[in-house]
């Protein structure tokens, strides 16, 4: 097997040579910002090139389309992607949470059917968890799935379906038993095909004015019964496991990243260029203090990742650092976006499309988009409940 160092060096060379710069549209910074066909086609093509070069799923088994190497190999490739600021891996729900779920708990047939298309990007996946009336209270999902012979019949609606208008499959949480003894026991989990009659989507316009999410409607949509993941009534357990992949509390993802992380260097660069009240923002002592706070925050997140690997230094609460990562990472992105606008002074008032805007309105847009991650996947407030209850042992709020 090729050494991790050699693999990392090859990846470094490949990304240096291949990261694209020839596009003239707004590049999505996260997988939740893919709002046009042009963006989707471009990113899907990029994912395929990365996969075919061997830098996505490098550690997944060969028989399911992976590279048969180790997690350390994939980590080296992901580091090279970050270093060269490659575009995101667009099929995030496939590579990041449906994929590892199927790899860890699926049947042999499911693994062979679904995993190769996830890695190549040929099969885009979406997630059907939230409903219009049930967001944070996920266990109360009401979309109905009624067994009818070899099929389930779906009726209801899901919302905030990222890439739902492009997806071939949906990981779906549905209510199979409305009379179960508690709300959780009535739920089941499906790997549902989207290309069946009765499934439709309408785009949702985000606070930025752009698109990226849809609402998905199911009207007597029939899906095969063997798309059930786990047993009927076990949906909550499977969904919770899926959320652990999503929040980074459990590993096994195909690699790459689906949200561009703001390097503190970018903020420092902005502070050098931006003019605040007639002077470079970098000279403002209050801005300098906030810059250092931002750098310390970023440094602490990196140090947390390092410490998480050293068992004696996390022995008191072994799961705390992974449980914290979603909250920290997404709030950092939101706060740095907000701070960037302070650095811009009067120019913070422009928006995307204004020629006088700094960096094309990049920071305005990225601040507003940052809420997709502090709200989606379990809001920061839900994350604090989870950390308080699971890492610190506080009594349940509900």
């Amino acid at each position: 097997m090729i050494s991790v160092e050699a693999f990392g060096a090859e990846a470094d060379k490949w990304f240096a040579a291949n990261v694209p710069s020839d596009y003239d549209f707004l590049m999505p910074l996260t997988f939740m910002e893919v709002g046009t066909d042009e963006q989707m086609d471009f990113l899907r093509d990029w994912q395929k090139r990365v996969y075919e070069a061997g830098y996505l799923g490098a550690h997944w088994p060969v028989e399911y389309g992976g590279g048969g190497l180790t997690q350390a190999h994939q980590d080296a490739a992901t580091r090279a992607m970050r270093k060269h600021q490659a575009p995101i891996i667009v099929n995030a729900i496939g590579t990041g949470w449906a994929g590892p779920l199927i790899l860890d708990t699926g049947t042999e047939e499911q693994k062979r059917n679904y995993l190769p298309g996830i890695l190549s990007g040929d099969d885009i996946w979406c997630q059907g968890f939230s409903e219009p009336d049930h967001g944070s209270d996920l266990g109360n999902a009401q979309l109905k799935a009624v067994r009818d012979g070899d099929e389930y019949v779906l009726n209801g609606s899901k919302i905030w379906t990222t890439q739902g208008n492009y997806a071939r499959y949906m990981i779906l949480l549905a209510r199979t038993n409305p009379d179960a003894p508690n709300k959780y026991a009535g739920l089941s989990f499906f790997l549902a095909p989207m290309d069946v009659p009765g499934v439709s989507t309408t785009k949702i316009r985000k606070l930025t004015g752009e698109y990226g999410f849809v609402q998905t409607f199911f009207e007597d949509a029939r899906i095969p019964a063997d798309t059930l993941m786990g047993a009927e009534g076990e949906g909550w357990k499977v969904a919770m496991r899926t959320l652990e992949y999503e929040r980074g509390a459990r590993g096994g993802q195909a690699g790459g990243y689906n949200i561009s992380q703001t390097d503190p260097l970018e903020i420092v660069g902005l502070a050098k260029r931006a003019i605040r009240n007639g002077r470079p923002a970098l000279e403002d002592p209050v801005m300098r203090d906030k810059l250092i706070e931002t750098i310390i925050d970023a440094q602490a997140m990196m140090a947390n990742r390092e410490r998480a690997k050293i068992a004696p230094l996390v022995s008191e609460r072994p799961h705390a650092l992974p449980l914290m990562s979603k909250l920290q990472f997404t709030e950092y992105a939101r706060e740095t976006g907000q701070f960037a606008l302070e650095l811009e002074g009067a120019q913070a008032g422009y928006y995307v499309g204004e020629e006088r805007s700094r960096e094309g309105g990049y920071w305005q847009r990225s601040y507003l988009n940052a809420f997709s991650a502090t709200i989606g996947g379990g809001t920061s407030q839900i994350q604090r409940n989870i950390i308080g209850e699971h890492a610190l042992g506080l009594p349940k709020t509900r």
Binding site: P264, L265, V268, A271, L282, P285, R288, D289, L291, I292, E293, I295, I296, D297, Q299, A300, M301, M302, A303, N304, R305, E306, R307, I310, P312, L313, E316, A320, L321, M324, L327, Q328, Q381, R384, N385, I387, G388, A391, L392, G393, L394, P395, K396, T397
Partner: protein
Amino acid sequence: MTAHLSKIALSEMQAELRDQAMRFCADRSPVSKVRALLTDERGFDPKDWTDIADLGWLGVAIPEEHGGLGMETGDLVPLAEGMGRYLMALPFASTTLAAQAILAGGSDAQKADWLPKLASGTVATIALFEPSGAWALNAVDGKTKTFVMDLDASDVVLTSVRHGGETRLALIPRDRIETSRREVIIDETKRSYTFDVPEFGEEDLLPSTAPALERIELVANLLQAAELSGASMACIDYTLDYLKTRKQFGKTIGAYQALKHPTVDAFVESEKARSLVYAAATHVDKQGGNRSDGEIAVRMANAQAEKALSFAADRSIQFHGGFGFTYDCDAQLYRRRAMFAASQFGDAAFHRARLAELLL
């Protein structure tokens, strides 16, 4: 820009030292003893002091040729962390800092004379601050010293003085200091004194000043960061105990999000501090690369650790309700610890200002 400083290494020896320190401090410094010592004139248990000397803790960062164990500066971190976690009062930091200053700026004779003693249990202290309140260590008037820890327990004081128009460091035996008194400080687990600098001679001076002052500042900030990070873990555990047992309106109060969420935020800040402290322990001695690397890692850790403990202890007082307002509630011990630490060698905002000079 500083990503390389986030790497953390933990040797087996450090892991063992950490276990030993946590066990020893937990055993020797239950809160009943911490509280009993608050009104003790000396402020610490001499038996604990001789025992940590026997364990070798005082020689950890002193080379073997001078009677120490010759380990790394970062190996001091688990010791300070354990003492901070259990609010253990000992003249560990002052003695360690005096030894580090002698190592960095002392003559061969001074090293030979003092280091073996300091490694084996002689108490020493440092006197760098003056009533002006300046945190800069290199411009003193050398008349009156303040915030001198454990002076009465010390055999020798490393003090900054004015000599030949410059700031210099002198080693002055305790018994030559005539005018001194105890100061009333906010952290009652510590003993602070002020004294008037006595006459001194050329032979009392350290040959080299700047490297010794730099060394003191670096190691003092590292020890303080570790101490505060350890204390913030304990403070959060103390708060959690209350949130899990106290009932109001028929509910255990930890179920209320108004208390749960800020406690989680305190925990997150404390975990960040811990990671930065371990990173600082890893990089404090690193040679090569950027010569400020050690200082950057240490100041980041200390700024974060002070912020974490201040917030955790402030919320701990509030979340204990009426009990939190009493002397009997331990939250005040942690809050006072953080406030006093911020007053020594610079607070978090001071460290960030210095980091801005180094990084921006």
